[in-house]
Amino acid sequence: MALRSIASVLPLMLLAVSGTVFADDRKKPAETSGTITSKASLESSGYADTDHVLVVSPSIAGSVSDPLAGWSVGGHLLVDVVSAASVDIVSTASSKWLEHREAGSAQGSLKRGDVTAGVSGVFSSEPDYLSLAAGGTLTMDLLEKNVTPFVGFSYGQDRVGRTGLPTEFWRSKQTASGQFGVTFVVDRSTISSLQLEAIQETGYLAKPYRYVPLFAPARAQSILAGASIAEVNATRLNVRPAEQLPDARHRFAITSRLGRRYSSSTLRLDERAYGDTWGLMASTTDFRFTFEIGRRLMLWPHVRFHVQNQVAFWQLAYTAAPGPSGALALPAIRTGDRELSSLYTATGGGGAEFRLVDDLDHPWSLLFDIDGSYTHYLDALYISERGAIFSTLAVEAEF
């Protein structure tokens, strides 16, 4: 049934025409003319999973740059339309909901000598959520551009509310991150990079619509991973409090990237190791092999694997028992967010880029990418696995 629902929305995802991607000046020598280059793209992405979540995201992007003068500006706008009737919604006796989100970004950079400075800003808005963030980076070319270190910093402020709740009662969340990295030219065909990032999140980190079922200690043992909504409802206590999480989380990630170019193909391999102060550790591996067929067509298979353990306070079945006063003593920290539990996700797919207009100065490209993923939750309520499809269709033009 769920697979049929994915199959039914796939044509919609494919038809939801899109825009584009990466800068493509492969047939051009390095810019020396000093002329301004403009790029525009239109893109549409679609996501559907077996938990009855459907997202369609059209977006536009553009940039203007002058490589000789050393500056560039750009930005993008995106709209998410989300339809969801997931098990988390159904389990709280809520009806299917439809929501939209607008998001965008702007960035600029200026190069002087061997140093490039960049700034960027991001916003995301929906009826019950607002997020603003800004950041900056400094990059320096060393040793004839064989070694390029960079540092970056960003700060974001989120406002988290509920539909119908006056904004003065919304909660806040702050995110600050610092990055340091180095890119190495290894040899004539190979580049690698190493990046360290530390992220500090403080404030309200829970989800206001997420409620956590509680169980009497004697009955919690009978709840098994993947227990159905009916099984949980038949066993749980009547009280169902809102999710409650620690008000600070420090995340650390170290990412290594490798790119190797062959005569008409490119191998990319990324590895990220992650840990945070909630006790979650993860590894994410990305592999892509891009190869060209003639002058106009590029194809790439893509594989990604993510594995993580659960946070320290994760429990499949949180318990509550009457205290001395007779009132239930609720667990101070409680969550039903299965993305905080032990899981692994395998993703595979591929894409193609076709050059519609093979013009050196004004190329047009059409891109299509599709990935399927399978997630297995080792210790979560309601579902133990989820399948998903994500696709993108894009068109890009350069003027």
Binding site: Y47, E144, V186, S256, T266, D286
Partner: protein
């Protein structure tokens, strides 16, 4: 260990500007392989974030 091996196990030799024809190909940009929408999906569906570049906004997945 994988991260360290990928980064430092490859060594580092000085490559002159005129020897970088292959490195100039657009597929050799070491940015995120995931596009904007795809990266957003990963940030929501995985418990780990970070290691990207630039400012990051909230997930907007209230």
């Amino acid at each position: 260990m994988v991260v360290a091996a990928m980064t430092f196990g490859t060594g580092c030799a000085g490559v002159k500007p005129y020897e970088r024809g292959r490195l100039a190909h657009p597929t050799m940009l070491l940015g995120d392989m995931a596009r904007v929408g795809e990266a957003h999906v990963y940030s929501i569906r995985e418990g780990a974030v970070g290691g990207g570049s630039g400012a990051q906004g909230g997930c907007g997945c209230n």
